[in-house]
Structure formats: structure tokens, C-alpha cells
């Protein structure tokens, strides 16, 4: 089969002949950073800073009780945010409370992540029967409110930060299992996992070397969201009296104690409430922003 050709046109250069040869490895295209991320990150950093600084310095000694200035407003007698009903400096307690909030979050989310992630991966990689069993057990756990769990634990072992952390942690597991499982299913359907099987990798090796790195984005996002929920849960538990005991400053506890003063000194409730709201906002923004950033389905080529 030949077509007429008249005078021969200039023969194509290699680049014209095939764009492929010309392509040089290009730098990763810059994704626009979602504005949520820096805002969320700043808030979280601020809270973390307050917590860290609290180890070295607080406006007042945490044990100092200003007998003459209980329930005063901001600015009185050197108290930047005022004092609570016992005369303890609010700003100081907020900073130390930040430690509790972050600490509880880390442990609770840690528990959820360490247990939930392997479960999610296994649920995504195994045969139907096993996978279904895990998910149904997961559903049962999901039906249990963290609060109920905490109360049960508190009743058995006495209320404390530890029981709060464990309760919240366990209650956060189902979220991780679901998210990680869906991510795992997606990874398992790719050709590169098939290539790994053909290369001779065992399932465990595929889970560690291929699945885990590719669901890490999901993991980070889930962890941020779970963190926000954990802080809220801890505050709730403390507010109800099942979380941090009297001796440990916690935002939830501060809210609890300010109930009786609500009409006379509403600010005492405002500050811890604001702190909780800010922390939740910060982690949520961070989580949302990271998800927008990392979600491959949102990539525009």
C-alpha cells in the first residue's frame, strides 16, 4: 500500500517524530495549597505552643489561689483572662488544659490508628468472609457511643484521663477501619499491585510496601478529624464529670466548674468554650485542607 508523495518534505526530527522521546522528566506540578491548611495548621501550632510553653512558664503558678479575686473579669489584678470561682487564674489553666487536650488526642488517636489501620487493611485484602466479619464487628463497635464506653469504664475502674483516652480511642477505631478499608480496596484494584503479585510478593509484603504508603494520605486526614473529635469528646466527658479529675486542669472540667457561675460571671465559661471550639476548628480545617490536597480524584490533569 503506497500513497503518492510528491517532492519529499523535510524529514521529521526525532522530537517531531515522537513527542515521547523529547519529554524530559518534569518536576511535580505544583498543586495549589488549599488555604485551609495554613489556617488550620496555625491554630493547631498555637495550641501546641501554649501547651509546650506551659511547662516552662504560665502567667501564674497553677496552684496559686487568689482568695481576694475570685470570679473576676479579665485584667483584674494581673489576670489576663480573669479567675474562676476558686480564684485560680484562667489563662494559666487554659494553657495547662491544652496539654491535656493534646495528650488525650494523641493517645486516643494513636490507639485508634494502631488498631484500626491493620484491621482496615486486612478487611480490604482478604476474602469475602473474613472481610465481612471484620466490617460487621466494626459496625457493632460503631454503634457504641464513646460516652457510654467511658461511663462503663469509669464505673469499673474509676474516672480518669486514662479511661477517657481508652474510651475515646476505642470509639474512634471504626472510622479508621472504614476509611482505610476503602483506600485499601482502591489500591488492590490497581495494576501495580497485580505487577507486585506477578513479581512474587507475598500479601503481607504488598500490604506494607504498596498499600500502606498509598493510604497514608487518607490516614493523615482521618487522624486530623479524629483528633478534633477526641478533643471534643474529652471535653464532653470531663464536663459530665467522667473525665479528668479535679486535680488535672482540663477545658471540659473548666466548663463543668463554671456552670454555677453562668449568670454572674459568664466569661468563666466563655474562655474554655472558646478554647475547645478553636481546637476543634483548627484540626478540622487541617484535616479538610489536607484531604483536598491529597485526594487524587480531585487532581486536574
Amino acid at each position: 500500500m503506497s500513497l503518492d508523495t510528491g517532492a519529499a518534505p523535510p524529514s521529521p526530527t526525532p522530537e517531531e517524530r515522537s513527542p515521547d522521546l523529547a519529554a524530559r522528566p518534569r518536576k511535580a506540578p505544583r498543586r495549589k495549597l488549599s488555604p485551609l491548611v495554613p489556617i488550620g495548621a496555625t491554630i493547631v501550632a498555637f495550641i501546641a505552643l501554649a501547651a509546650i510553653v506551659s511547662f516552662f512558664w504560665t502567667p501564674f503558678d497553677p496552684l496559686y489561689i487568689d482568695y481576694d479575686h475570685t470570679s473576676v473579669g479579665p485584667g483584674v489584678n494581673g489576670h489576663p483572662l480573669g479567675t474562676d470561682r476558686l480564684g485560680r487564674d484562667i489563662a494559666t489553666r487554659l494553657m495547662i488544659g491544652a496539654r491535656t487536650a493534646l495528650y488525650v488526642g494523641i493517645v486516643a488517636v494513636g490507639i485508634a490508628m494502631l488498631i484500626g489501620t491493620p484491621l482496615g487493611i486486612v478487611a480490604g485484602m482478604t476474602r469475602r468472609n473474613w472481610s465481612e466479619s471484620i466490617m460487621r464487628a466494626n459496625d457493632i463497635l460503631l454503634a457504641f457511643p464513646a460516652l457510654l464506653l467511658a461511663i462503663v469504664l469509669a464505673a469499673r475502674y474509676g474516672g480518669s484521663i486514662t479511661t477517657a483516652m481508652i474510651a475515646i480511642g476505642v470509639a474512634s477505631i471504626p472510622g479508621f477501619v472504614r476509611v482505610i478499608r476503602s483506600g485499601t480496596l482502591r489500591v488492590m484494584s490497581t495494576d501495580y499491585v497485580l505487577a507486585a503479585r506477578v513479581a512474587g510478593r507475598s500479601s503481607f509484603s504488598i500490604a506494607v510496601r504498596h498499600v500502606l504508603p498509598n493510604v497514608s494520605g487518607l490516614l493523615i486526614v482521618q487522624a486530623s478529624s479524629a483528633y478534633a473529635i477526641a478533643i471534643l469528646a474529652e471535653a464532653g466527658l470531663s464536663f459530665l464529670g467522667h473525665g479528668a479529675p479535679q486535680s488535672v486542669p482540663s477545658w471540659g472540667r473548666m466548663l463543668y466548674e463554671s456552670q454555677s457561675l453562668l449568670t454572674i460571671a459568664p466569661l468563666t465559661a466563655l474562655w474554655p468554650g472558646l478554647a475547645i471550639a478553636l481546637a476543634v476548628l483548627g484540626f478540622n480545617l487541617l484535616g479538610d485542607g489536607l484531604r483536598d490536597q491529597l485526594d487524587p480524584t480531585l487532581v486536574r490533569s
Binding site: 500500500m1 515521547d20 518534569r26 495494576d191 497485580l194 505487577a195 507475598s202 504498596h210
Partner: protein, 296 residues
């Protein structure tokens, strides 16, 4: 029924499908019988060692199932699949693993066949270093300690250099990624390379290069090439034999020249006639323009 008209089948076949059937049953509700989809129906095929064997089929032909069966990613409902003298039809994963190096795959989608989180060095070395470097009982004499050298060697063989080693897949074009896939596949010195629609997702301009590369490597690396595609012309470009699949049935097979020039089955003829040609297009255009030179 096969109509194999190959003249010389003296070389011992490297892959044999012996009355292979693969059914997929769908369980209906408890009171229903459920239905079955027959992806491959009593297919018997022999692939001579050292050949470049094409399998042509449109969607629903069963070619994907064929690929999975030969690559030991699936098991036949009945019949035998013999690869390199070993009946792999009923083997467990544990038994298959040491044999996997003998047969490697190149996939269709250059985007999805490379782990986006792995550097090229690790991607290409994967078949050489599986299972955390634990020595897999070697049936092939491959010195597992020299994997770095081998990686550089295969990258060079596909036209890329060591600068690629530390990069990630997204930094390469589709054609380059496919080359990396090929490098990965030939690294363990497989006796058989299975290309599943290896150029279908590539730009028409890049296809020729990749096909030529595969043909060249088949000789230099000494493997049997099994090329599965829906594209007749692509198969003609690189293969010396071809088998035609239609709805799970092997309709015709033989030497390329025979099948393409004198197709015996009406379906094959239909496939061949459907491919748009430049010459045909020019004729039609002339006809539309009312050109006196037109022959249509």
C-alpha cells in the same frame, strides 16, 4: 475448533492451553439457580518457544481472562494451563511464587501499573527483591545480590539512563512509563513476556517505538512474547503468529501472513475489513469531493 495452519511446530511449546474453560458463576438469591458467564470456552492453544504470538480479541472475547490464566492470577474451571512445562492450573500461591519469575507482565495503563509512591529504582527491582530480600528458592539461576547492576542494565536496554533511578513515576510521560514497565518485566530474565494491550493507552506516535522495542528485546533478552490486543494492526507489526478470540471461543490461529491475507473464518475477515485505512480514506474523500480520479 482451531484451524492452526502453522507449518512448523517443532519447537516445544512454552505455553499450552488444553481445553481450558473459565466460567464465572453469579450466585443469585437463595432460591434462584444463579447464572454463569463463560469467559473462555474450551480453548486449546500452543505457543511455540521463541515466537512472538499475538492474541486478538474485542471486548468480551475473553482475552483478559486468558492473560490472567496464563499469568497464574486465576485458575481455569476446567482444562489445564501449562507454562514452561509446569501445570499451573491448580497450584497454590505458595507453590507458584518461586515460579513467577519465569513469566512477567506488561500492563495496558502506564499510569496505573507503577506505584506512584515508589522510586523507579525500586519499581524496576521489585521482581528481583521480593519478600524483603529473603532468598526465594530459585529455579532460575539469578544472582540476587546483583540487582542494582541488573536494574541499570534493563533501564539502558529500554532507552532510559540512571538519572531515572531516583525519580518517581509521575515525572515521566506515558511512553516512558511503559518503558519502565517493560524494564521491570524483563529484569528477572523471564522466559515469557505477556503484554496485555501494552500500547493501547499510548499515543499513536509512541506506539511504534514501544512495539519495536518489544520486538528487539524479545531477541536480545531471549523470551517468548505473548501479545494480547484488540488492535489487529498493532499485532501485525510485532507478531509472527496470531490467534483470534471471539466471545471466549478460539476462532482461528496460525501464521500472521496466512491469517491476515487469507482469513478462513468470517469473523476474522470482518475484523480485518473494519480497520480504517489511509488509502481507503483517501478514496472515500475523493468520492465525496466528486473527483474524477476516485475509484469508489
Amino acid at each position: 475448533m482451531t484451524a492452526d495452519r502453522s507449518v512448523d511446530a517443532a519447537a516445544e511449546p512454552v505455553v499450552v492451553l488444553d481445553h481450558v474453560t473459565r466460567e464465572f458463576r453469579r450466585r443469585g438469591a437463595p432460591w434462584q439457580a444463579g447464572s454463569a458467564v463463560v469467559a473462555l470456552d474450551d480453548v486449546s492453544l500452543q505457543i511455540p518457544r521463541g515466537s512472538k504470538f499475538g492474541v486478538v480479541g474485542e471486548s468480551g472475547s475473553g482475552k483478559t481472562t486468558l492473560v490472567r490464566l496464563v499469568a497464574a492470577l486465576d485458575q481455569p474451571t476446567s482444562g489445564r494451563v501449562v507454562v514452561d512445562g509446569v501445570d499451573i492450573s491448580r497450584l497454590q500461591e505458595r507453590q507458584l511464587r518461586p515460579l513467577r519469575r519465569r513469566l512477567q507482565l506488561v500492563f495496558q495503563d502506564p499510569m496505573g501499573s507503577l506505584d506512584p509512591r515508589m522510586r523507579i529504582r525500586d519499581v524496576v527491582a521489585e521482581p528481583l527483591r521480593s519478600n524483603f530480600g529473603r532468598k526465594v528458592p530459585d529455579s532460575e539461576p539469578f544472582p540476587t545480590e546483583d540487582w542494582r547492576a541488573r536494574v541499570s542494565e534493563v533501564l539502558a536496554a529500554v532507552g532510559l539512563d540512571d538519572s531515572a533511578l531516583d525519580r518517581y513515576p509521575h515525572q515521566f510521560s506515558g511512553g516512558q512509563r511503559q518503558r519502565i514497565s517493560i524494564a521491570r518485566a524483563i529484569a528477572p530474565r523471564p522466559g515469557i513476556l505477556l503484554a496485555d494491550e501494552a500500547v493501547s493507552a499510548l499515543d499513536v506516535s509512541t506506539r511504534g517505538q514501544i512495539l519495536d522495542l518489544l520486538a528487539e528485546l524479545a531477541t536480545t533478552e531471549d523470551f517468548t512474547l505473548l501479545f494480547v490486543s484488540h488492535d489487529l494492526s498493532v499485532i501485525r507489526h510485532v507478531c509472527d503468529r496470531v490467534a483470534v478470540l471471539r466471545r471466549g471461543i478460539l476462532v482461528e490461529s496460525g501464521l500472521i501472513a496466512d491469517v491476515y491475507d487469507r482469513p478462513q473464518h468470517p469473523y476474522t475477515a470482518e475484523l480485518l475489513a473494519a480497520v480504517p485505512t489511509l488509502a481507503g480514506g483517501v478514496e472515500r474523500a475523493r468520492g465525496r469531493a466528486g473527483d474524477p480520479e476516485a475509484t469508489i
